[in-house]
């Protein structure tokens, strides 16, 4: 859509901003030829990447949703039947108990169908037999519909409540304050944010300062109009004006690119999953009741404050953490059921960690690169962003209170430097993820967009380039040596995925048989 950018007219105020990056200019011979790109091309590339990765994430989330609905189908039916039974005590006894009975019969029928499917499935060899099994599965999947509808409704409402509350919790939890007009650096920050908003064509966001020793910056808020940029005091003190401008540009570009909406969708997905988990946990954990109650209130009551919405969200997200898996002693009579449930949780965790993790991380990293290249567009000064990033990343720390939303920050703490207690700083919805790109990769992209201060970083050999440079003979030798290992690794990965899928199917089957049997026993006699 956008052709390679022509050199833009140079600035009338040369002392204010640097001349535009040399777009599309060949690298000088001295530097080890890295291909130069214009920030427009970089942005287009990252946008495309975002689309593809979102699609992958969506598909995986859908698969997870189907799996969850399958696991939860008996529960939904059971709750419905139980409610009807209770209602029968208060009136319209005939209709209610008849409906409950119908649900019980339905469960029995489904259970029989399931057993038939499993039996036929293991014996099916010809295509026709397989078709019959597939038809049976389709018939069976009617049982999943109520849960899927419930999930869709829950997702929509959670998304709405998140949109209402924004991600403003970050503001309260980090105790950010308004910038002081009498402080020179803070006034500068406000001016710089103003200029960057002007350059991005966005309304000026609210700017807040976090009193913290950590150097970092973040965005929060519900939408373009109600966005907030948070900058720590340490960052203001250690960076110069141009670098602060680059940081502000990154934040504002992130707002303009719609990262806040992406976050809300992702969070809503995780919270829906967490909600189901909490429901599954109800018989075993008192805190599950509490967090469920808070969550329902926060989601459906528009008067609840953003902080409460957030607290409720945390309660739900906590179900992903390992601690909540520990069975408590008082639940001994329910132990077999608990065992199945722990298994389900384990499977879900495996899915999240092994399969959903990669596209999710890549998606968010692509958004970071996109914000970087948009920041270059706003400041026309890739050097400032490169130096600011390397300064921030070497001291990167998430200010206290922001750990659970660390992905909203400019730089994350690197995995190497994360200690035992630092694990939390890479969290997304309770999962330990690496949401930020590595510093050297970011600098490399900035160098490609014209940052001369990042050239050194960019010239560091990567494995692929090393192979490309080694010449055809040595390269083929390398490939010949490495290929068995690669093949082995690929097979191992495939086997792992296969094992996870097999385990999931097994779990689903067990929970379905168990659940439907219980319902049929309770209501279908």
């Amino acid at each position: 859509m956008i052709p390679p950018a022509p050199p833009l007219p140079s600035s009338a105020a040369p002392e204010m901003i640097d001349p535009p990056a040399p777009l599309g200019v060949e690298a000088p011979a001295a530097t080890d030829a890295i291909t130069k790109v214009s920030f427009f091309d970089e942005q287009r590339r990252r946008r495309g990447q975002t689309w593809r990765l979102s699609l992958v994430c969506l598909l995986i989330a859908l698969a997870l949703g189907i799996a969850m609905s399958t696991i939860l189908a008996p529960l939904t039916l059971g709750i419905a039947a139980g409610t009807l039974k209770v209602a029968a005590l208060f009136g319209c006894a005939e209709v209610c108990s008849k409906s409950a009975h119908a649900i019980g019969l339905f469960a029995r029928q489904e259970m029989k169908l399931l057993i038939v499917i499993v039996e036929r499935g293991s014996r099916a060899h010809s295509a026709a037999e397989k078709l019959i099994v597939i038809r049976d599965i389709l018939i069976f999947s009617v049982a999943l519909l109520p849960t899927m509808v419930a999930a869709a409704v829950a997702w929509t409402f959670i998304r709405l409540s998140l949109r209402r509350a924004g991600v403003l919790d970050l503001v309260t939890s980090t105790r950010a304050r308004r910038p002081r007009a009498e402080d020179r650096k803070e006034r500068q920050l406000v001016n710089v944010a103003d200029e960057m908003a002007l350059a991005a064509g966005l309304p000026t966001p609210r700017v807040l300062v976090i009193e913290s020793e950590a150097m970092n910056a973040a965005v929060a808020g519900a939408s373009h109009e109600a966005a907030t940029v948070l900058v720590t005091r340490a960052l203001l003190e250690r960076l110069n004006r141009e670098q602060i401008q680059a940081v502000a540009a990154h934040c504002i570009a992130s707002i303009g690119n719609g990262d806040l909406r992406v976050t809300q969708s992702l969070l809503a997905t995780f919270q829906t999953l967490g909600l189901f988990h909490t429901v599954l946990d109800l018989p075993f954990r008192w805190s599950a009741w509490r967090s469920l109650g808070r969550f329902v209130r926060a989601t459906f009551d528009p008067r609840v404050s953003p902080v409460d919405v957030l607290e409720a969200g945390y309660g739900i997200e906590e179900t992903f953490s390992h601690e909540s898996m520990n069975p408590s002693v008082m639940m001994i009579p329910l132990l077999p059921l608990r065992f199945v449930m722990i298994f389900q949780r384990f499977i879900l965790l495996l899915w999240c960690l092994l399969i959903l993790k990669w596209p999710l991380e890549l998606l968010w990293r692509a958004r970071r690169y996109l914000a970087d290249s948009s920041a270059v567009q706003l400041t026309r000064n890739p050097d400032a962003l490169a130096t600011a990033l390397s300064l921030v990343a070497t001291h990167a720390d998430i200010p206290s209170g922001g750990e659970s939303r660390s992905y909203l920050f400019l730089c994350g703490t690197e995995r190497k430097r994360r200690g035992r207690e630092g694990i939390a700083s890479g969290m997304f919805a309770g999962l330990d993820l690496e949401m930020h790109p590595r510093l050297d990769k970011r600098l490399k992209r900035l160098a490609a967009m014209g940052a001369s201060s990042a050239q050194g970083e960019a010239n560091r050999r990567s494995l692929l380039r090393g192979i490309a440079k080694a010449g055809i003979v040595r390269a083929s030798l390398f490939v010949a040596v490495a290929s068995p290992f690669l093949l082995l690794a690929g097979l191992a990965a495939l086997g792992l995925v296969g094992a996870v899928i097999w385990l999931s199917l097994f779990t689903v089957e067990i929970s379905l048989v168990l659940g439907f049997t219980l319902i049929a026993f309770a209501f279908g006699r």
Binding site: M1, L8, P9, A12, A13, M16, N191
Partner: protein, 200 residues
């Protein structure tokens, strides 16, 4: 009769459906292209409004600046009158972007010149009022630079959209004219002229 035959012939029905679907898809595509053009055009207009606001802000600073400086450098009244004249021209040129660009960059040039002259007068340099004006002017220059950058980026995207093939047909049909960039001119020759004015 035609109704009967089309109902009787399933192939006709199929081809009719296919035709309708294609036409519908085409219509949707055209609507999407049109909406995109409209969005981009309104973005350039908004961006221009931003530039205009900032330019006006600078123009409004000129009388104050002149008033502040007048008492100190009365001997340079020609520079001051030139500047007032340039400001008038810049405001008068508001209709055409190209003419505005020329007028505004001349005004910027003469402002910079005036500030340089003022620097040379110690009493003026120390004046609180002057310092404030200088700061204000610098901030405004910055804003102008960024607003212009945004405008030019938007224009570039819009012009690219107007010129690219399927959209260009719609653009020509519905009179989407390409927008003009707001470029600062290279005015080295004029520089010398203005320097000559103040050389005295």
């Amino acid at each position: 009769l035609t109704n009967d035959s089309s109902a009787a012939n399933p192939r006709t029905v199929t081809s009719m459906t296919a035709l309708l679907l294609t036409a519908g898809a085409l219509l949707l595509y055209v609507a999407w292209l049109y909406n995109r053009l409209v969005t981009l055009r309104s973005r350039t207009r908004n961006a221009w409004a931003q530039v205009d606001v900032q330019l006006r802000r600078r123009s409004d600073l000129v009388p104050n600046l002149v008033k502040c400086v007048k008492g100190y450098i009365a001997h340079e009244s020609r520079t001051l009158t030139t500047m007032i004249e340039l400001r008038r021209q810049a405001i008068a040129a508001a209709t055409s972007i190209a003419a505005r660009a020329v007028a505004e960059s001349e005004l910027a040039q003469s402002l910079r010149l005036l500030l340089a002259t003022a620097e040379a007068v110690p009493r003026l340099r120390a004046s609180e009022n002057m310092l404030e004006l200088q700061e204000e002017l610098r901030a405004t220059e910055n804003r102008i630079a960024f607003a212009r950058q945004h405008y030019n980026d938007s224009v570039m995207e819009y012009n690219a959209a107007v010129a690219s093939v399927p959209a260009s047909l719609i653009a020509r049909f519905l009179a989407f004219a390409p927008a003009t960039m707001f470029s600062a001119l290279d005015i080295e020759g004029r520089d010398a002229l203005l320097l000559g004015l103040s050389a005295k």
